[in-house]
C-alpha cells in the first residue's frame, strides 16, 4: 500500500493528527479522548508501517484541537506520539507529546482505599518515574503504575 505513495489515511482539511501512537494504545487514545462520541469525521489507522515504531497507529480528527489536559492524557498512554495541528490542509504546529510532571483530574487512583475513590475529589498525581510510568497520589501517597492506570474518559 505504502509503495503506491498514497496516504493510507486521507488528509483532513482542519483539525488534529495524532501520529506515532503505539498500536496497543490506539483504542485507548480513542477512548480517553471520547472520540467514539465525536460528531465529525474521525479517520483511524492501525498497524501502519512506521520508520520510528515499526508499526504505528494514527488518528485524524476533523475540526478538533486538543487542550493541554487532553494532550497530557494522550502522553500517559502514548508517550512520544506526534501531535500535528492542521489548518487548510497545512501543518500549523507539530510537537511530540511529553509525559508531564503532574496530572490532575483524569487519572483514577489505583488504591481502592484512597479518599479520592469515595468522595468527589479531583485526583492529583506527581509522576515520579516517567520511563516506567509511576504516579504518586497527592492524597494517599500510594503509587499508580502503567499496569494499574485508569484514565477517566472525557
Amino acid at each position: 500500500m505504502d509503495s503506491k505513495k498514497e496516504l493510507v489515511v486521507p488528509r483532513i482539511e482542519n483539525g488534529t493528527v495524532i501520529d506515532h501512537i503505539p498500536t496497543v494504545a490506539l483504542y485507548q487514545v480513542i477512548h480517553i479522548l471520547g472520540l467514539e462520541k465525536y460528531q465529525d469525521q474521525v479517520l483511524i489507522g492501525n498497524y501502519l508501517n512506521s520508520m520510528k515504531l515499526g508499526k504505528k497507529g494514527i488518528i485524524k480528527i476533523n475540526n478538533k484541537h486538543f487542550t493541554k489536559e487532553e494532550i497530557s492524557k494522550i502522553a500517559l498512554v502514548a508517550p512520544f506520539a506526534t501531535i500535528i495541528d492542521i489548518k487548510d490542509f497545512a501543518v500549523t504546529d507539530k510537537f511530540t507529546t511529553e509525559i508531564p510532571d503532574h496530572v490532575e483530574n483524569f487519572v483514577k487512583c489505583a488504591n481502592p482505599k484512597c479518599i479520592t475513590n469515595s468522595e468527589q475529589i479531583a485526583t492529583r498525581f506527581d509522576i515520579v518515574d516517567k520511563v516506567n510510568l509511576k504516579l504518586k497520589c497527592h492524597y494517599c501517597e500510594k503509587f499508580t503504575t502503567k499496569d494499574t492506570l485508569v484514565i477517566n474518559e472525557k
Binding site: 482505599k113 479518599i115 492524597y139 501517597e141
Partner: protein
C-alpha cells in the same frame, strides 16, 4: 513564636529536621511541666471516624492539660457522617467551630484532603494505612530521650516492615539523622523498595535479616511491630515464620547497655511479658511520651509556643 504556627501535620515529611527538633524541645518542656494552660481560650476538635483508644485519649489528655476545650466524636455513629455527609462538608462545618482539628479516618489521603478544605490547621491522627505522623514524632522523642541524641544511631526495625506505616515514617524521619538501619522481617514482609530508596537517597546504609537474634548486639533501638496472620495468604507460611520476630528476655543477653525496645502498641505476642521487667523495655513510657509530643504539636501549631 514557632515557625509551625498555622501549619498542618499530615505526613511526617511535611516537617524538616529542624522542625522535628523544635517539636521535641517543646515537648521536653511539657514533660517537665505538663499542666500549662496555654490553650485555655482554644477549642480543639477531635474527629475520630474509626475507634482508637490510645491516640484519641493521648490527644484529649494533651489538650485537657493545656486547658483547651474539646469537641468531637470518638466514632461516627450518631453523627451526620452516618447520614451520608461528605468529609468535605463535615470538615468545612467543624473548622468553623474549632481552632484546630485532630482527625483519624480510615480512608487513605483523607487527612491531606481535610487540610485542603479546612480553614484551621489539621493534625493527622492516622489516615488508614497511610500516615500517622504524631506516632512518629513520639518515636523520635523516645529515641532522643533514651539515647541522648538522634544522630548516628543503629536502628533495628522488626516485624511487618511491608505494611507497618509506623516503620515507614520512622525510617523516613531517621534518614535525617545519619542512622544505620537493620531490617528484620519474614521474606514476605520486607520493607518496600520506595522506603529503601529513601535510605539510599540519604546516602545511608541498611541491612536485611530474617532472624531477630542477629541484630541484638548491634542495635541502639529495637523497634518492634506486630506480624499479623492475615498478611499471609498461606497459613503454613505464617506458622513457619511467626517465631522469627518474637523478642524474649533471654534473647537480650549481650545487647548494648543503652539499648531500648520500642513498640507502637498494641502488642500481641511479639514481645513476651518477661521483657517488660528488663531495663530495656521502653514501650509503655513511649506511649506516655505521646502526650508531651501532642501538647508540643498543638501549642506550636496554635502559635502559643
Amino acid at each position: 513564636m514557632s515557625t509551625l504556627k498555622g501549619r498542618n501535620l499530615i505526613s511526617i515529611t511535611d516537617f524538616n529536621k529542624e522542625e522535628y527538633i523544635e517539636v521535641l524541645d517543646i515537648a521536653e518542656g511539657f514533660e517537665k511541666t505538663p499542666k500549662q494552660r496555654v490553650l485555655a481560650d482554644k477549642v480543639v476538635a477531635t474527629l475520630f471516624f474509626e475507634p482508637s483508644t490510645r491516640t484519641r485519649l493521648s490527644f484529649e489528655s494533651a489538650a485537657n492539660q493545656l486547658g483547651a476545650r474539646i469537641i468531637g466524636f470518638s466514632d461516627p455513629g450518631g453523627t451526620s457522617v452516618q447520614k451520608g455527609e461528605s468529609l468535605h462538608d463535615t470538615i468545612v462545618m467543624v473548622s468553623s467551630y474549632a481552632d484546630l482539628i485532630v482527625m483519624r479516618n480510615p480512608k487513605e489521603g483523607s487527612a491531606r484532603y481535610a487540610s485542603e478544605v479546612s480553614t484551621v490547621p489539621v493534625i493527622n491522627a492516622g489516615d488508614g494505612a497511610n500516615q500517622h505522623p504524631t506516632q512518629c514524632m513520639l518515636d523520635l522523642y523516645s529515641i532522643r530521650k533514651t539515647q541522648g541524641t538522634l544522630e548516628n544511631l543503629q536502628i533495628a526495625c522488626v516485624g511487618d516492615l511491608k505494611y507497618g506505616r509506623t516503620v515507614h515514617s520512622l525510617v523516613q524521619a531517621m534518614c535525617n539523622f545519619n542512622a544505620t538501619f537493620h531490617l528484620v522481617s519474614p521474606e514476605e514482609l520486607k520493607l518496600p523498595s520506595s522506603v529503601k530508596m529513601s535510605i539510599k537517597n540519604a546516602g545511608l546504609k541498611y541491612y536485611q535479616y530474617t532472624d531477630l537474634r542477629d541484630i541484638i548486639p548491634t542495635a541502639d533501638i529495637i523497634y518492634m511491630t506486630r506480624v499479623q496472620r492475615e498478611r499471609f495468604p498461606d497459613p503454613l507460611e505464617y506458622e513457619r515464620v511467626k517465631d522469627s520476630c518474637i523478642l524474649t528476655a533471654s534473647m537480650l543477653d549481650g545487647c548494648k547497655h543503652n539499648m531500648k525496645v520500642l513498640h507502637p502498641l498494641p502488642r500481641v505476642n511479639e514481645i513476651t511479658m518477661d521483657v517488660d521487667k528488663t531495663p530495656y523495655a521502653y514501650y509503655f513510657q513511649q506511649a506516655q511520651n505521646g502526650v508531651y509530643v501532642r501538647q508540643a504539636l498543638m501549642s506550636a501549631i496554635l502559635g502559643v509556643k
